[in-house]
Assembly symmetry: C5
Homo-oligomer: 353 residues x 5
C-alpha cells in the first residue's frame, strides 16, 4: 500500500470493505485470551481466532487481546461471531482514523492512539488501539506489538488492585487509563523541553533553536490531533450512560476526562509558549541586527570623514598651501583627533555604544 | 455569461428563474436511467428527459443520472414531473452554491462539490453535483462529464457489495461516499506536499517557496469552503431523521460525518502548519539577513581603519617625520597587523563569525 | 447635524424623539403608493402622506414606497395611522442603525443597508432601507432616491413572475432579495479585485499595493458590518414564524439565508486572503531587502580589500621596497585579481549571487 | 487606601464588610430625593439619609439620588431600611466592579460605568453608577458628582417626554439610556480619531503615530471592558422578566441592547482597524528602510569601484606604464564614465531608482 | 519522585493508588481540629489523624485543617472514616491537578490553587488546597504550611463577622473567598507592573524589557491555568445546588464567580496589552533601525563622492592639467563644498535628518 492512500480507501471498493491501511510490519496476527474472575485466571495464546471462540467463559471476564491487523479473514470471522458492524471493522483496520466512540446496542466501540516518543529523534509515534466492549468480553486490537498493557496483565496475575474483583467495564477503563497516562508522560517531557529551549534562547546558546521550536510545534499539533477528539468522544461516551458500564465504574471515566482536560490545557499553554518563544527569538534577532548595524554605523561615521581628510592631503595639486606648512601634518592630526573625540561624545550621548 | 455574475443572479429576474451560472462546456445534456433490484438491472441512455419518465419502475431503484445542466427546459420538465420546488432547481443550476441539504416533504436535496486536482498546475477543480432522493428514485445532476460514479455503476452491474440488495437511500450514501473519498485523496496529496515544502525550507533549496506556500493556502481555503458547510449540512441531515432514509442506513451517514471531520481536522492542521512554515521562512530570512550584515560589518570594521592608515601616509605634507624613518613602512605594517589581529580576536569572542 | 453625532442621539432628548441622523440630501419626501392584485394595478405619486391613507385598498397588496426621511411630521403621522411604536420610527430615522428585525404584534419591522460601489473610488456606499410589513400593506422607507426597486415595479406592471399572484409577504421577500443580490454583485467585484492584487503582487508591478490591500480590508469590514447582523436577524425572523408570513413564503426566506451565508463565507475567505497577501507583501519586501543587502555586501567585500591594497602602495614612505621592484605594479595586479577571483568563487559557493 | 488594593479587599476582613475602594474625592455624601407623578413634583436636598426616609411618597415615583460613597454608615442605614443584601452594598462601594445585574426578590440591582473623555489627554474616565430599583423607588449611587442626569431632571421638571406619565421602571430605563448614549458619543469620537490616524499614516506626517495607535488600543480595551459585560448583563436582565418592570417597558430595554450591540460591533471594527493600521505602519517602515538601503547600495555600488580606480593610479610604484601615457588621465576618465553609465543603466533596469 | 513524573502516575500502579506528586518539603503532617458554634470554640493540634476522629462534635462546625500530604497512611485512614472515594484522595495528593469540584452524595470536593508571588523573583508560586465539605465537617488539605487561613481562624476566635453564627458551608465559602482574594491581589500587582513596563518602553529606558514582557506572559498563562478551570468548576458547582449548601449561602458563591470573572477579564486584558507591548517594542526597534540606517546612508552619501574626488587628484598621471592650475586646489574645494551643500539640501527636503 503506497503512501498516497494514507486516509483514502482505494476507490471503487464498496464501503465496509476491509482493507488495512497501516504500514505492514513483519509481525503476523497474535491473539491472547485472558479470562479471569475473583478466583480463576487463565491465559491462552494462539494465531487462530477460531480456536479462541469455543473456550470463552461466559461467567468470567474475557479479554481477547489481538495484535496485528493484517489477517483480514480472521478479523472478519471475529466480527461475524460477535455481530460487529462492517463499518466498525473498517474503522479498526483504518489505522489513521480519528479517536472515536460508538455505542452499538450490544457493544461499545472505542478507537484511540497509543503515543510514545521515539528515542532516536524524539518524534511522537502513533499506534492505533481499538476496543470492543461487550457484556462479557472485551476485545482489544493493537496495530503492532507493544508492552503497554503488560502492567495490567501483571496486575491481573498478581491480583494487585481491584481488577480481579471488577467486571470487564473496569478492565476497559484500566486499559484506556494506561494509554492516557502515557500521554501525560509525553506532556511532561515536552514541558521539560520547552523550559530547556527557553533557557537556551535567553542565553543565546543554540543556533538550531528555530528547528527545535518547529519540532515542538509539530509535536504539539500531533498530540492535539490525538487528544482533542478523544476528549470529545469520551465525554460523549460518559453522557450516553450505556448499560454495559456499571454506574460505579462511570466515576473512573470522569477521571479519564479530567486527565484529558489537563493534557488539553497543557497543550494550549504549549501553543502559547511556543508562539511566545518564536516571537522572542525574532525579537532577539532584530535586537542583534540593530546592534550590528549600529556598530557598522559607528565605525563608518568616525572613519569616513577621517579618510576624506587624509585623501585630501594626498592630492597632487601644485599649489596646496597647507602642505608647505611646517606643522601641517601635526595640525591635521589635531583636527582629526578633535573630530574623533567630538563624534565619540556625540554618539555616546545618543547611546550608540 | 460573463465573470461578473459569478454569484449574483442577473438583476431584475424573478427569484426561481432558472439560469445556469456555470461555464458552458461543449457537452450537451446526457441522461442515464439505471434501474435495479436484487434480480434485475437495466441501463438506458438518452438526451430527452421525457423519454425517461414513462419507463421508471416503481418497484425498483431508479437512478436518473443527468450530466450537463444547460438544457433548462428539460430540467424544468423534470422538476414539474417530480414536484421539485423552483428554488431547488435554481440551486441545482447555480453551480457556485455552497453545499446544502434541504428536507422537503417528499424528497431530500443535497448539493455538494466534486473535487479533483488538475494535473497541470495542481489546482483544486470543483464540479457541482446535486442529488434529489425521492421514495423510489434518486436523481443526480452533474455539472459536467466525469468518471467519478463509474465504480458504482460497475458494482451495480457486477452485484459486488451490498448495492443491489439495498434501496435508493444506500445508493445515495454510496455516491456521496465516493465523492468524499476523493476529498481524502486530495488531503493526502496536500499532506505530502506540505512535507516536501518543509523539507525544502529546512534545506533552503527553493527560491519559489513563498509562492508554493501561498498556493497551499489557497488550496486549503478552497477545500475548507467545500468541506465545512458540507459537514454542517450532513450533520443537520443526520439529525433530521427523514423517513426517506432507512434507520439501518443512518449509520453509514455517521461514517461520512467521521470522514468529513477527519478532513476538517487535517485542514486545521494544514492551516497551522502553513502559518508555521511562513514564520519559519521569514525567520530564516531574518537570520540570513543578520549573517549578511554581520559579514559586511566585519569586513568594514577591519578594513576601514586600515584604509585610513594607508591614506594617512599617502598625504603629501612636506614634513611627516614617519615617512623619513628607515623602517616606517615596516612599522606601519606591524601596526596594521596588530590592529587586525586584535579586531579578529574581539569579533571572534563576540561570536561574530 | 454635525459629524460628532453619527451614532448618538442629541443628549437630553427623550428616547423615541424623532431625529433624522443621515446626511441631508436635497431631495424632499417622495411617496409612491402601488396597489395590485391579480387583476388590478395602480400607482399614485404624492408628497403628502395624508393623501395616501384614504386610498389604501384593503383587498389588495398596498406598497407604500417612501423616499427621503426628512419630513419627520409626515412620518409621525404615518406611524400614528398604522400604530407603529415610537422606537421603531426612531430606528427608521437613525440611518446608522445596524440591520435588525423586530416582530411586533401587528407588523414586522426590518431595517437593512442597500450597498453599492461608487464608480469613482470604488468605496462601498450604504443607504438604509427599512420595511414595515402589516397584514395588507408593506411600507418601505428609503433614505435616498435609488433605482434598486425599479425591476420589481416593472415585474408588477408586466405581470412577470409570481408577484401579482402572491401577497405582500412575497413582495417583502422580493424587495429584500433584490438588495441582497446586490451584495453578491459586490462580493463578485471584490473577488476579481483580489485576484488582480495577487497578480500584481506576484509580478511586483505596483507600488500602491499596500494602499490597495488596506482599501480591500476596509471594504471587507464594511460589508461584514452589514451582512453578519443581517444574517443573524433574518435567521431569527425565520425561526419566529410570524403569522404575517404565509408558510409557503418561508422557504424563500431560507433562500435569502443561504445567500447571506454564502456572502459571509466569501467574506471570511477574503479576510484570510487579505492577510495572506499582506504577509506575502511583507515577505517579498524582506526578500528584496535581503537581495539589496547582499549586493552591497558583495560589492563592499570585494572592493574594500582592493582599495586597501592600492592605498597601501600610495603611501609616501621613503623606503617601501616593493615600490622599487620592476614588476611591482604587475605583481600587485596579480594579487588583486587573485583575491577577487577567490572572493567570487567563495561568494558563489555560499549562493550570494 | 493605596493603589495596591485596587481590586482586592483588605485581607482578613469578613466578606460583606463595607469598604469604599474608589479614590477619595473632596465631595461628601449628597442626597437628592425627587418624587413625582403626573400631577406633582418635588425635590429635596440633604446630607442625611435618615431625613429622606420619612418623606418618601409610596404613591409616587421616588428617586433617591446619592452622590459620593464615603459615608459608609449612611449607606448601611439605607441598606437596612430597604433590606438590601450586604454583598450588594459591597458591590456598590467597590468602584472597580464589573457591570452586573442581580435580580433580588424585592429589588433589581444594576451597576455600570459612566464614561467620559477627559479634555486634557483624551483618556476614558470611568465613574461607577449603581441603581437599585424597588417597587416604588429607584436609588442611584454615583461615585462622584457629575451632570449626566441633569437632562432627566429637567425633563421631569418640564414634563417633557413620557417620564411623568410612566413609573420608576421607565425612569430606570431613561437613566441607563443616557449613560449608554454617552458611550455612543465616545465611539463617534474614536471613529473620527481613527480616520485621522489613518490619514496621517498614509501621508506619513506624524512621528508619534505609534503612540497614538497604542492610545487607541487602550481606549478600545477600556471601552470593551465596560461594554461587553454590560451587554451580557442587560441581556440576562431582559430575559429574566422581573415583575418590577412593566411589560410595556421591556421593549425599551431591547433598544438599550441594540445600542450596546452596535457599540460592541464598532469596538470589534476598531480592533481590526487598529491592527490594520499597526501593520500598515510597520509595512511602511519596512518599505522606507528598503528605500534607504537601496540608496546606500546605489551610491556605494557606483563609487566604490571608481574610488578603487583612482586609488590604483595613486600608487607610487616606480614602473606603472599607464602613468606615463600622454592621455592616461583622459583614458581613466573615459573608463570611469563608462563604468558609471553601465552601472546606472543596469540599476535602472532592475528598478533600483 | 523525579521531575519526569510531574503529571503522570508511575506506570503500572492501579488507579486510585495514593502517591504524593508534590515536592517533598521538610514539614510533616500537621492536623488542627477547630470546632465551633455560636457559643463554643475549641482548637486541637496533633500529628495523628486517629486522635481527631473521636473528638469530632456532630452538633458543631468541625474544621479539620490538614497541612502536609506525605503521610499517605493517615490520609487513607481519614478517607476510610469519612467514606471518601479513592479517586478523590488521589486528586488531593496529586498536587498538579487542575481546579475541580465533584459532587459526591455525602460530600462536596473542591481542589484549587493558592497563589502567591515570591518576593525574590516575582514568580507565581502555586500551592494546592483541597476541601471536602460534609454535613457537619469541613476538611481542608494544604500541600504546605502557609498563613493564608490565619485571618479566618482569628475571626472565629474573635467572633468577628458572621462565621460563628453560620454553618460549615459558610466556612467553606470564607476559606475559598480568602484564596480568591489573593488572586485579585496578584492581578493588582501585575496591573502595576504592566504600567511600569509600558512606561519604560515609551521612555526606552530598559534593555531587559523583552525578558520582562516574557515574564509577564508566563505569569499571565500561569494565572489563567488556575483561574479559568476554577471559574468553570465553581459555576458548575453553583448550578448543581447541592443540599449540603444552605440556599442563603449560595449568593456568596455567586460573589466568588463575580470575582473570578473579573480576574478572568483582567487576564484577557493583560494578554492583549502584553501583545500590544511586544508589538510596540518591535516597532520601536524597527524605527530605531531605520534611524541608524538613515544616518549611515547620509554619512556615506555625502563623503563617498568627496573621497572619490580627493582620490582623483591623488593620481600620479604625468599629465593631469588640473593639477598644474594655480587655483586647482581651491576650485576643488569649491566643487566639494557645492556638492555637500546640494546633498544636504536634497536630503533635508526628503526628511532624512
Amino acid at each position: 500500500m503506497n503512501k498516497q492512500a494514507k486516509y483514502s480507501r482505494k476507490q471503487g471498493l464498496p464501503p465496509g470493505s476491509l482493507v488495512h491501511t497501516g504500514i505492514a510490519y513483519e509481525s503476523d496476527i497474535h491473539i491472547q485470551l485472558i479470562t479471569y474472575n475473583q478466583e480463576d485466571y487463565s491465559i491462552t495464546e494462539t494465531n487462530d481466532i477460531n480456536k479462541i471462540i469455543p473456550i470463552l467463559k461466559p461467567d468470567q471476564v474475557n479479554w481477547i487481546k489481538i495484535t496485528g491487523l493484517h489477517d483480514i479473514n480472521q478479523i472478519d470471522d471475529l466480527g461475524k461471531h460477535f455481530g460487529l458492524h462492517p463499518l466498525m471493522l473498517e474503522d479498526i483496520l483504518n489505522t489513521h482514523h480519528l479517536p472515536k466512540t460508538e455505542d452499538y446496542e450490544n457493544h461499545i466501540f472505542l478507537t484511540l492512539k497509543e503515543l510514545s516518543l521515539t528515542t532516536k529523534d524524539n518524534i511522537i509515534d502513533k499506534r492505533q488501539i481499538s476496543f470492543v466492549l461487550g457484556n462479557t468480553y472485551l476485545i482489544s486490537f493493537e496495530e503492532q506489538k507493544s508492552n503497554i498493557f503488560q502492567p495490567i496483565i501483571e496486575r491481573i496475575q498478581t491480583k494487585k488492585g481491584k481488577l480481579r474483583v471488577m467486571q470487564n467495564d473496569y478492565l476497559f477503563y484500566a486499559l484506556t487509563d494506561i494509554i492516557i497516562d502515557n500521554y501525560l508522560k509525553i506532556v511532561d517531557d515536552m514541558d521539560d523541553d520547552m523550559e530547556l529551549i527557553e533557557q537556551e534562547l535567553l542565553e543565546k546558546k543554540s543556533k538550531l533553536i528555530l528547528k527545535k521550536i518547529l519540532h515542538k510545534r509539530k509535536q504539539q499539533l500531533s498530540l492535539k490531533k490525538s487528544v482533542v477528539p478523544l476528549l470529545d468522544e469520551i465525554r460523549k461516551f460518559h453522557h450516553s450512560e450505556s448499560n454495559l458500564i456499571n454506574p460505579k465504574t462511570y466515576i473512573y471515566f470522569q477521571d479519564l476526562i479530567d486527565h484529558l482536560q489537563q493534557i488539553n490545557q497543557n497543550l494550549e499553554s504549549f501553543r502559547e509558549m511556543i508562539s511566545n518563544l518564536t516571537e522572542l527569538y525574532l525579537a532577539n534577532n532584530d535586537v542583534q541586527m540593530n546592534d550590528v548595524m549600529k556598530r557598522l554605523t559607528v565605525v563608518s561615521t568616525i572613519f569616513i570623514p577621517l579618510t576624506f581628510i587624509v585623501g585630501l592631503y594626498g592630492m597632487n595639486f601644485r599649489n596646496i598651501p597647507e602642505l608647505e606648512w611646517q606643522n601641517g601634518y601635526y595640525i591635521t592630526w589635531g583636527i582629526m583627533i578633535t573630530i574623533t573625540i567630538v563624534m565619540i561624545i556625540y554618539l555616546k550621548r545618543r547611546k550608540w555604544f
